[in-house]
Symmetry: C2
Subunit: 204 residues, 2 copies
């Protein structure tokens, strides 16, 4: 029926599948994502969907990688060229809040990264490993600027960067819960207030 497609068309189809997978998994989880649902949404056959990935697990990993790419593009890249240290860190944290506030068209069920973190936190396998690796990578990004900020005297000298990083991640998880589960309109402002307090230069 459908003629065989060119490589460029195949790539576009693959992108459509991954984009739709990210949206579905954001709501239903990466396990709630099924080939049948995906095929129906995209008006394709299940075999046509699966052909691009081979297995469902490979599709789940592709969706997670795409979510990570979106996150990097929206949260990290806009701040990448700012001066390392407190300046860049504050910008990243601001983009981070914006991302949770506004990326609802891409992630109708909230940050896929957070959903997947909880979904696979206790289930060994490639998805657990991938989620864990991405989470550690992101914490290292924060830690780098935190350490620089302390070295620059932009944060109090007795600041423990690991401790502050832990607290920043907690704020973000709480923001995601308040937006998604509670639909609390004040949560972004609360997060910004907490960030201001945590990321304030020492008195001099």
């Amino acid at each position: 029926m459908s003629p065989r497609k060119s490589a460029a068309e195949a790539r576009r189809t693959r992108e459509r599948i991954v984009g739709r997978s990210v949206a579905i998994a954001s709501v239903d989880g990466l396990d709630g994502l099924t080939l049948g649902r995906l095929a129906a949404d995209l008006e394709m056959s299940k075999a046509g969907v699966l052909g691009h990935f081979g297995t469902k697990e490979a599709l789940q990993l592709a969706a997670l990688a795409e979510a990570s790419a979106i996150y990097t593009r929206l949260v990290w890249e806009p701040a990448a060229d700012l001066p390392p240290g407190l300046t860049r860190l504050r910008a990243v944290c601001e983009y981070w809040v914006d991302y949770l506030e506004t990326a609802r068209d891409i992630f109708p069920g909230g940050c896929l990264f957070t959903t997947a973190s909880v979904e696979f936190d206790a289930r060994p396998g490639p998805l657990h490993d991938a989620v864990r690796r991405l989470q550690l990578r992101w914490r290292r990004v924060l830690l780098t600027d935190l350490t620089t900020a302390v070295a620059n005297g932009e944060l109090p000298a007795d600041t423990d960067p690991e401790q502050l990083c832990f607290e920043l991640v907690g704020l973000y998880l709480g923001l995601n819960q308040s937006i998604q589960l509670l639909a609390d309109p004040h949560a972004p402002a609360r997060t910004r207030r907490a960030l201001d307090r945590l990321l304030t230069p020492p008195p001099r």
Copy 2:
């Protein structure tokens, strides 16, 4: 084959099913819980399991209610008789950390309440409503002692109880992630340090 059981035996069987459901759902989520798996674990038939609840959704709600009861028993009740305000709040927060650190035999995949919060945060229905209600109830418990603590002068007068409650919940979510996904042995100590800073009486 099996003779009909007495009401007391039926109650015991129901408790066994719910207990096993909590453990499975802690790892695989309330949707990952299946009647077939449950029946195999308990060496019963699927119909025997389902007979106690009628539908899978009723079983999921029962597992969630049990998780909430466990949480209340381990986190709230040990502190219930302490003086309202900062004293009781600090005790509750300490039991809260202990609970995440040590309840791994009951919740092998971490606090079921947190897992369910993320699983159903964007999916309307009775489970979403139940998770949301329980989360709001718990936040109100924290808020009560926070408000009392400010009124008693045990926290700085300019403290916003809602803001502090938001930050406490974030810490807890971060602790769950650090324990489950990252297996970070320092996370409980970090949480206690952050709690100390957040719940310190004003200088006088």
